[in-house]
């Protein structure tokens, strides 16, 4: 069993009797400074875990909102190197909130896996979600990342049946990210009852905490998920607020405002 900030955070929340609020924002969106301010503000707005999106030109599993966010970041000159810098700047003031770097493999492959793991670890990254690395490709990054002490967080989806699930879970740690619908990020919200059925099935195979995402936009929806899951992930709705902002300050405020609302929803659900 690993002992990362992610493991400690889920343990603490379990003791507290509530689900984790997992937020996703894109590094460098709308620009480096404003994105840093957003990430720095998220723990205060109730985020328990922060997924930092690594921008990529061709995000094949993302819907329009996150595609646009990535392109805005890239247009502003964001890179993997700067993304790690942003995380290390965040770490100067916050040594507890877990950071998960989420993205696609090519920028990491291009950077060089060994160098990336060294730099990500020293920047203060705790876990990785790499969308286009299924368990078939574990040798690429999953196993070296585990060796380096990072959690490799895997996605399970409605298409991940009982036969496949053990393969998905094999080298994963930290938590399991259950993608509640087959689709791209930001698609329609899932039915809580369908999610509950899936979670019951998955829990027969793993003791890892399970965070549920895709399609959650409001405090009420997140609260529904918080009743049945160990965490609720909100990404697209937050990223959309960045685009709606009339200037950097407004974007930052909007994201943190929505985070506070969703956090309140999640915190309203107490588990015994």
């Amino acid at each position: 069993m690993s002992d990362t900030r992610i493991d400690r955070r889920f343990k603490a929340l379990k003791a507290e009797g509530r689900a984790a609020f997992v937020t996703y924002v894109m590094a460098g969106d709308p620009n480096y400074d404003a994105a840093l301010e957003i990430v720095k503000g998220l723990p205060g707005a109730g985020a328990d875990i922060i997924e930092v999106g690594l921008p990529f030109t061709d995000p094949m599993a993302d819907g329009p909102a996150i595609q646009q966010a990535g392109l805005r970041a890239l247009a502003g000159g964001m890179t993997l190197k700067k993304t790690l810098k942003l995380i290390s700047e965040f770490r100067q003031d916050d040594n507890d909130t877990p950071i998960v770097l989420m993205g696609y493999y090519n920028p990491i492959y291009s950077y060089g896996v060994d160098q990336f793991l060294t730099d990500a670890t020293s920047a203060g990254v705790d876990g990785l979600i790499v969308v286009d690395l299924p368990s078939e490709e574990d040798k690429e990054l999953c196993l070296p990342a585990r060796e380096a002490g990072l959690n490799f967080i895997r996605l399970a989806t409605p298409t991940t049946d009982d036969k496949r699930l053990p393969k998905v879970l094999a080298n994963s740690s930290g938590f399991l990210y259950y993608v509640s619908i087959a689709g791209t990020t930001g698609a329609a919200a899932p039915k809580a009852s369908d999610v509950a059925t899936a979670l019951t099935r998955i829990r027969k195979t793993t003791d890892l905490p399970i965070a549920v995402g895709f399609g959650l936009r409001t405090g009420a929806q997140a609260a529904e998920i918080a009743k049945i899951a160990d965490g609720a992930v909100v990404g697209t709705a937050l990223v959309e607020q960045v685009a709606l902002g009339s200037n950097d300050k407004d974007s930052v405020n909007r994201v943190l405002e929505l985070a506070r609302e969703i956090s309140a929803g999640i915190r309203s659900v107490k588990k015994t």
């Binding site: 061709d58 090519n106 492959y109 368990s135 991940t160 993608v179 087959a182």
Partner: protein, 403 residues
Amino acid sequence: MAKLNSYRTGPDETGHFGIFGGQFVAETLMPLILELDAAYEASKKDPEFAKELSGLLKNFVGRESPLYFAERLTEHYGGAKIYLKREDLNHTGAHKINNCMGQILLARRMGKKRIIAETGAGQHGVATATVAARFGLECAIYMGETDIERQKPNVFRMKLLGADVIPVKSGARTLKDAMNEALRDWVTNVDDTFYIIGTVAGPHPYPELVRDFQCVIGEETRRQIMEAEGRLPDTLLACIGGGSNAMGLFHPFLDDEKVEIIGVEAAGHGIDTDKHAASLKGGRPGVLHGNRTYLLQDDDGQILEAHSISAGLDYPGIGPEHSWLNDIGRVKYVNATDAEALDAFQLCCKLEGIIPALESAHALAYLEKLAPDLPKDHIIVINLSGRGDKDIFTVADALGVEL
């Protein structure tokens, strides 16, 4: 690298050609890809599948396609003897239908009700819409807005064939972006949808199965050249975007080491500019669209936009088996610019009475460098992968002619 007994045994059991290939897709798609792999393996063992496919290739597609001695091109260059493999004469006007027919039969065996595909020039879109119409399956084709603009006739063809043509507005609005959107559709519609990938790329098993369905080109060529000349050709030549027409011609000859094999990438404005589509000569290995292969990318691993006058070659990657053949040196990869392709396009029209696709014109363009200095008994076979009716607007535009 130790010399191989055969160049035709790939991919390995994990879907790799050397370091290239693989299965780099979102988890949602993995079960579907494994299911496809199993269905494909089963079809290979089923003689009924082969029988049905070859019947349709003969009677619906119009195979075999002729291997035509291009007398006047030969005379023009004054060197090697030039043969054209006439894939332009297939139903729908290109080699694309060979693969589509194979894949739609797989889709039917798997009980899928809906077909999706990406298209650049529109040839693969037309071929997919055609087989979907033939078998009465719903069909959605993703096509970049830029390509929709430059390939209007094919867009209308697809619509006539009953397909829904969905404009893609992301990125440079060309083939790469159409492929992203098709993958997003597939991730969303996992239950009933079959994705017909148009080239020898994507996650395993696509590079293998597309290649196998296109190998009919090379197999026929072997037989036909033996009939015409009593021996194998000295040189094979084909254009490469993703590389399916080239792989179809090359693969049955890979183990004939005396056969020189040349693939021609699109050099756009020139490979020393930032406007080209030559992934092998201007890119480096990376991961995109389900496979590791040579890609046009920047220092940060962000994918760059390709450029070619030919929409079908306008893609920043290449099939993984080509990357491998490049690295081990079995196939030589060269390139031709927009301007060279345009010249070759016009020359072929005038000398042979054949309007070639702009894609195929890239292969023809390399004759200028290759053919004149070769002896008259040297045999070159070029894959004339498609016809150029679809390209007349682009060509007119490039030549400053108003239609």
